[in-house]
Amino acid sequence: MTAAPPASLFPAQQWQQIEQLLRSIDERQALWLSGYLAAASQQAPGQAPAPQPRGKTVLIAHGGETGNSRSVALALGEQAAKAGIPAQVEDLAQLRVRQLAKHEHLLMICSTHGDGDPPEPVIPFFEALMADSAPALGHLQFSVLALGDSTYEHFCLTGHQLDQRLEALGATRIHPRQDCDVDYHEPSRLWGDAVLALLPKGEVAAPAQDALRQETAGRQFTKQNPLQTEVLENQCLSNSAREVPIHHIELALEAEDFSLSPGDAVGVLADNPPALIAAVLDATRLSGDAAVTVEGEPLPLVQALRQSLDLTIPSVRFLEFWAELSQADALRAVCASPPKEQRAFLKQVQVLELMADYPAAPEPQALVEALRPLQPRLYDVANSLNTVGDELHLNVKLWRYAFRDSLRTGIGSRYLLALEPGDTVRVYPHRNTRFHLPEEPATPVILIAEGTGIAPYRAFIQELALAPVPRPCWLVFAEHRFEEDFLYQLELQQAHQQGHLQHVDTVFYDDQPDATLATPLLAHAQRLLDWVERGAHVYFCGDKDRLTQCEDVVGEHIDRQLGSPRWQQYSKDKRIHRNLY
């Protein structure tokens, strides 16, 4: 049977009825029914467009890293087929820009990753499209669905860029771009309905369904289908007195098809802390036993609050929902303001504060549908599966941040640090191809990290020990105190003795108050130049601000020595790798 549609589409019981019905009918009936439904949807409002010339299909192109864009695209393809619209679903990773010439209608669904970057697989297409050499697209009609996460600074940036570029190349926008936050199901469905209504019908081939079958075949671990792993060890590495502890966590990895290379991360499906769940139930005067459905799955409210829903970050949608429910003028006013201001407001308040400041009594199901889905947290894998094949090692720091007048603790990191051996965690692989070792085995690497940024490097270094060709490796690491915070010191010493690590330079802020992460790099300026000129790749991993500062200093230095814009060029040549958070 097909994957369940978003809960927002059908209330649970209704969907169950439909499923029953569909199961009871045979091929012929199904075919007739799809035709009937398609015909029905033709009566939809809006001018009926001219019939599609033979062979020309609507191109539904998706690009992303964690499967959301793809699932939206496949669902849309299916919907188009049902509606009798010949459509073909393509991954932007495979698509060539000139193939756009073969189509007259383009529905582009693309997310944003990194720090406002295109999803890794999309980069070739994206660059080709942005290039001056890109073809004119006067013949093309398009609309863009941008997936993103409003807690990131550059919300849906890639979608915006694609949208503008297509227009700049002469294509016509038949429907305005739709930006989606992490609760993208509803808005993307609405966008889909709207654009399909604008598209001409024709003979329907059925590629979409095939793609769908591929989708449901091939069991691989994803956010929707995570691997249950057992916690083997959870060791605090930092001094017990430190208020933001750093832990080394080992998970059992029984699955074979859990594909990861050094530099990749895992997504962790964290639980919300019990205290927060209790507070939410309190504020809403709801019972944890209340039955709700999330993504078509019936479960008690308390479980939904624990595993499925984000209880810290309010979405625009929740804002509107709560404004409506509480009838609070203050909230209504915000809802009336432009999206930018809404997001600004939402950054200053968390779900619980909204509930407390503007009391209201929501329906369980309505609440569940209004809250934004709890997002997986990503953690770099700190071991190479070629060295330790049946374990996943993580290096996790407790996330603390000042919010309003109190110090808050991060959901995911708190969850991980509290785990005990024997507990189970839900994880899935997250490829981070931007952050792999260079293909060429002898290319030198300069690894720069602060704190937990060491994690992927630990995997790199384990990998280097196995490499047939020695690869020059220079590690620069920063933390607080030499004596207490030198993460994996013993292992690094060993790697150094065995010659897998040529140089290890450290900065310990508490011991050397004037030093920064860049200090050792400049202290060895000559070495830095030599390595870079020998084609070294430079990696930056860890705290976004600190490492960005460091890259600025290093970049300026290199430009001063070798002539600007040398650093930018390296970046273009993919010799600079960033993994910042």
Binding site: Q235, L237, H248, E483, Q489, L490, E491, Q493, T506
Partner: protein, 565 residues
């Protein structure tokens, strides 16, 4: 024909690895300077820690933290202990104040006065090491050869009554020390970063291999045997006639260290072999050291001390070799008498009319409140300072007129009870042991407060509170607190377990015997209780505990073997 199969004369590659290390070290340089710049570790890599000992520096780690740090994937908590060279233990007040300041700035656990009357500072971290060594230099002090296979700090006992002789002997001790220390430029080069020409014969007396093992020289002035002259490789016993220093009886081959695992390893008393004139002493010490340098065992470090050389080759051989090198045989020894090996606490007046006051320092550890009290005291103090081989602190060169006022100040600062503590204190010693000593098997210094209280209760129980009994505790058999010269000694075997030694003499001229092995507190308290009972009953007038045990033949009893597991 002497057996030379294991000494200097043999090809270097057949000798102990430490000998080869010394040979490679370019007169104790090694790669210490590079190691100091290695930021990947708080330690000094490779064999260099062995070489650093010759510079008075021990690499250690806080053993309390080892297991936890290993789990945290961190190296041990490396730190350094620095031992100064203070011949005769004499310091100016300014120097003591300087050491105090250094201990606060660079070290942990305060100032540690040692059983060889010098100062140890613990817990110094590598990045601060060089700065600290220069701070010590600026006090006119150094740490050269405070450890290592060389002549250790030369100790000198005290006898305030004979101030003039005392000063003479102290000066000879200093002269001897200056004469015997290594002359290599490695020290100023590494620690003061002076660059001087490196010659290929920087240490003419020692040569590139230095000594097979540590070599300890001590001067003592009867009747107080505070330095335990019988525990020294070379002891010089002042012979005084009519208030004049006539010369020295010399004794050789003392040593405490032993390995419980080897029975060809044992503590040994130095033997008195003859007499020499005063001025000859420093040169004489150099000759004796030279003999040990040439004939000492360089294959087996556990047999390398001078005491074993003598047992191997015999006194006859030694006296002959000595006569040759010295150009004449030894004169016969002269009579003398010792009465105690503990310090005389409290006030003593010297022949020159000047006073000195000995303050009791438990375990020689000057830290916390005590360090602050003394700091306060020394702010207004005109005399000098002397450290004793019983880990105590002496105020010396005090004029009659100052005495009363000093008493008041000691009173105000809560220090006066250190002039006359319970009399057991003056006869109790313990070594450093855990957490810094790498060789410790059991607690010693940290155990002392409890043990002392318990010991005093036990004595009181049998009415022995007014009878001093020498009690010494060490964390392992090495014997840093000279346990085998005490009436009662505990040497560590495992956490909470000790070997019990009994029967040394009150003035340290007789070795204690192993009485019970691997006993815990309950067990040795039980043993002592029984013996105290008999002592209280059968003691003859002022008889000492050790002498009593011997006279009663109680030491011949089969030693009680108790298995730790």
């Amino acid at each position: 024909m002497v057996d030379r199969s294991s000494d200097l004369s043999q090809p270097i590659d057949t000798l102990n690895s430490n000998e080869q290390l010394k040979a490679r070290s370019r007169f104790l340089r090694g790669n210490i300077a590079e190691g100091l710049n290695d930021t990947l570790t708080g330690a000094v890599p490779g064999d260099d820690p062995l070489l650093m000992k010759f510079h008075g520096i021990y690499q250690q780690d806080d053993r309390d933290l080892r297991a936890d740090r290993l789990r945290r994937k961190l190296e041990p908590n490396h730190q350094f202990m620095v031992r100064m060279r203070i011949p005769g233990g004499q310091l100016s007040t300014a120097q003591w104040q300087g050491i105090d300041a250094i201990s606060r700035r660079y070290a942990e656990r305060g100032i540690r006065i040692t059983t060889r009357q010098t100062v140890q500072l613990h817990g110094i971290r590598k990045p601060q090491l060089r700065a600290m060594m220069q701070a010590i230099r600026d006090l006119g002090l150094d740490t050269i050869a405070a450890c290592g296979d060389d002549s250790r700090g030369v100790v000198c006992g005290s006898n305030p009554a004979l101030s003039k002789v005392h000063q003479q002997v102290a000066d000879l001790a200093r002269e001897t020390s200056d004469r015997l220390i290594p002359k290599t430029g490695a020290y100023p080069e590494i620690w003061y970063q002076e660059d001087r020409p490196v010659s290929d014969n920087e240490d003419p007396v020692y040569g590139p291999l230095y000594l097979p093992r540590k070599f300890k020289v001590g001067y003592v002035i009867p009747p107080v045997n505070d330095i335990d002259v019988y525990g020294q490789d070379l002891g010089l016993i002042a012979i005084v006639e009519g208030g004049e220093l006539r010369g020295f009886n010399i004794c050789v081959g003392g040593g405490m260290g032993q390995l419980d695992t080897r029975d060809d390893s044992y503590p040994r008393l130095a033997e008195v072999l003859g007499f020499i004139n005063p001025d000859e002493a420093p040169a004489f010490a150099e000759i004796v050291m030279g003999i040990q340098r040439d004939y000492g065992d360089r294959k087996d470090r556990h047999r390398a001390r001078f005491k074993y050389t003598l047992d191997r080759l015999g006194n006859a051989w030694f006296l002959e070799e000595l006569a040759q090198r010295r150009g004449k045989p030894l004169a016969p020894a002269l009579p003398f008498e010792f009465t105690q090996n503990g310090d005389r606490l409290g006030w003593q007046q010297g022949g020159d009319g000047l006073w000195e006051a000995t303050l009791y320092i438990e375990n020689g550890r000057v830290d916390g409140a005590l360090r602050d009290q003394l700091q306060g005291f020394f702010q207004q103090y005109g005399g000098r300072v002397r450290l004793t081989t019983n880990q105590n602190l002496q105020l010396t060169h005090i004029g009659d007129y100052e005495r009363e006022q000093i008493n008041w100040r000691l009173d105000d600062l809560g220090l006066s009870q250190r002039l006359s503590p319970n009399l057991q204190a003056a006869h109790t010693l313990s070594c450093v042991a855990l957490p810094t000593c790498g060789l410790a098997m059991a607690e010693a210094e940290r155990y002392m407060p409890d043990l002392m209280a318990m010991f005093n209760r036990l004595k009181a129980q049998y009415g022995l509170q007014d009878t001093p009994i020498t009690l010494r505790v060490t964390g392992c058999p090495n014997g840093c607190a000279r346990p085998y010269l005490a009436e009662i000694a505990l040497t560590g075997r495992a956490p909470g377990l000790y070997n019990l030694y009994l029967g040394g003499s009150f003035h340290g001229d007789r070795l204690a015997r192993l009485y019970a092995s691997n006993v815990n507190e309950a067990q040795f308290v039980d043993v002592l209780a029984q013996l105290f009972e008999r002592f209280a009953a059968g003691r003859q007038d002022q008889e000492y505990f050790g002498d009593f045990l011997l006279r009663e033949g109680l030491l011949d009893a089969e030693t009680i073997a108790v298995n730790p597991r």
